[in-house]
């Protein structure tokens, strides 16, 4: 998308027919016609394979995100009890949320194996930042999250002494200054 004379597209503009294009982000389909749904510039992504090219509308400035089923989120642990951890969802993917959403990680969703032997106090502590996946839209108050995958879990935590800890295995983190080891369900670092 280089410096062509881009006319800004306002919501509700007709962009194309569903016979010729796929509907991408920032668009919706009604009666076989693709319309724009946000203010932005029009773009066409070439088709991978034999399908139609995708028509999308994108905008450069920040758009706030909401969690959807299957999205990867970054959350801060607020409260723990033996059955579940309350978290505040701060980011969905790489877009921030306008205000923190409430989430819950139940103790059986922390690990994939040996779910009955998991203890919350050895997995998360209040103040930890975790990466998790949304598994359900949940109840009236919270989204349900899970950290069963290897790359999900604690990404940042501070020790009891207040220093940032480094993960040494999937279930332990170490304070580099004092040498103390604390148990957490760590995310696999890349």
């Amino acid at each position: 998308m280089s410096s062509q004379a881009t006319v800004a597209i306002t919501p509700g503009r007709r962009l194309g027919l569903t016979q010729e294009y796929e509907a991408g982000t920032g668009t919706y389909v009604r009666n076989g016609i693709i319309y724009s749904s946000i203010l932005g510039s029009k773009g066409i992504k070439e088709a991978e394979g034999s399908g139609n090219p995708t028509m999308f509308v994108e905008r450069s400035n920040a758009k706030f995100a909401i969690p959807n089923i299957g999205s990867e989120v970054l959350a801060r642990v607020v409260r723990i009890n033996p059955r579940a951890a309350s978290v505040a969802i701060m980011m969905v993917g790489s877009t921030p949320c306008q205000e923190d959403f409430q989430g819950v990680v139940r103790v059986q969703d922390i690990r994939a194996t040996e779910k009955d032997l998991v203890q919350m106090i050895n997995s998360f502590r209040p103040g930890d930042i975790i990466r998790a996946e949304v598994i359900s839209l949940g109840d009236q108050r919270s989204y349900y999250l899970a950290t069963t995958k290897n790359e999900h879990g604690v990404v940042f935590a501070q020790s009891a002494a207040g220093n940032t800890m480094v993960p040494i295995s999937w279930e332990e983190m170490q304070d580099p200054k004092t040498g103390d080891v604390e148990k957490r369900k760590c995310a696999k670092a890349f």
């Binding site: 919501p11 509700g12 920032g26 758009k63 706030f64 306008q98």
Partner: protein, 263 residues
């Protein structure tokens, strides 16, 4: 209403106040002309600025989108917060909530600091007019909140339609997915003729007013409000007239939105 209640929390102005002496306005001599010299079918000039409440110093608690709207003497500002965690949290669709407030100095009489039932009713009208335009199924469990403040008002039906236009512009600025922007306009019956976009002075003399909110690209009317009594033929005439004016207002708002992006 508030004449006997003394507001102890704020520094009060004098209980009695007198209007300043204004220079004489040139009044039109012919009875057919409008006081401000507009044509019968002319809408007041519109100005829209999006993003006046963007974060500058800190991003703490700043709105996702905002707009400032002027139409003649009407001045309205709107802030959109969202999508954020909803209180009712229906899993299927998001919710759109609107809060409407006249500033105490916005009308020619002093308005209350507290939200009155009038303002709550208008807030419900705005919700009903705007909700059909938002793609709420794209925001499950989330809530989109609009806060509208009328800085200066001039004609009730015209102010409500200006509020709808302002919220539309603010929603677009916030990047909320919409089916289309909503454009609104008002007409009033004076004698046997429908005059467009009335000021407070003209509205006081009119027998009936009609306000329409419309999505031009889908050709759908989202809200229709009539005050006063007319025959069905007259109402039909007003609806036809308003539909055309809504399209014009929509074009003006889109022009400002496009200009805001090209900055």
């Amino acid at each position: 209403m508030s004449a006997n209640i003394i507001d102890r929390r704020r520094i009060n102005g004098p209980q009695r106040s007198v209007e300043p002496i204004y220079p004489k306005q040139p009044t039109s001599t012919s009875s057919a002309g409008r006081p401000d010299g507009r044509a019968q079918n002319a809408v007041r000039p519109i100005f829209v600025k999006t993003g006046p409440l963007s974060p500058q110093a800190s991003s703490a608690a700043c709105p996702s989108g905002s707009a400032y709207y002027e139409q003649g003497k009407i001045r309205i500002s709107c802030a959109i917060y969202g999508p954020r965690q909803g209180r009712k949290s229906n899993a299927r669709m998001g919710a759109f909530d609107c809060d409407f407030k006249y500033a105490p100095f916005s009308c020619s009489w002093k308005r209350s600091h507290m939200r009155t039932s009038d303002e709550k009713e208008i807030a419900l009208m705005l919700e009903q007019a705007i909700s059909p335009a938002i793609r709420l199924e794209a925001y499950p469990k989330a809530s989109i909140d609009a806060f509208v403040t009328v800085i200066e008002s001039d004609g009730k039906a015209a102010t409500i339609s200006a509020a709808i236009n302002c919220i539309s512009a603010a929603l677009v600025d916030a990047g909320i997915e919409l089916y289309d922007s909503v454009a609104a306009c008002s007409v009033a019956l004076s004698g046997s003729q429908w005059i467009y976009d009335c000021t407070q002075e003209e509205e006081d003399k009119a027998e009936c007013s009609l306000m329409m909110a419309r999505m031009p690209s889908a050709d759908e009317v989202t809200y229709l409000l009539q005050h006063g009594k007319t025959s069905p033929a007259q109402t039909e005439q007003a609806i036809q007239a308003s539909a055309g004016v809504c399209t014009q207002v929509y074009a003006v708002i889109c022009h400002y939105l496009q200009a805001s992006l090209e900055q």
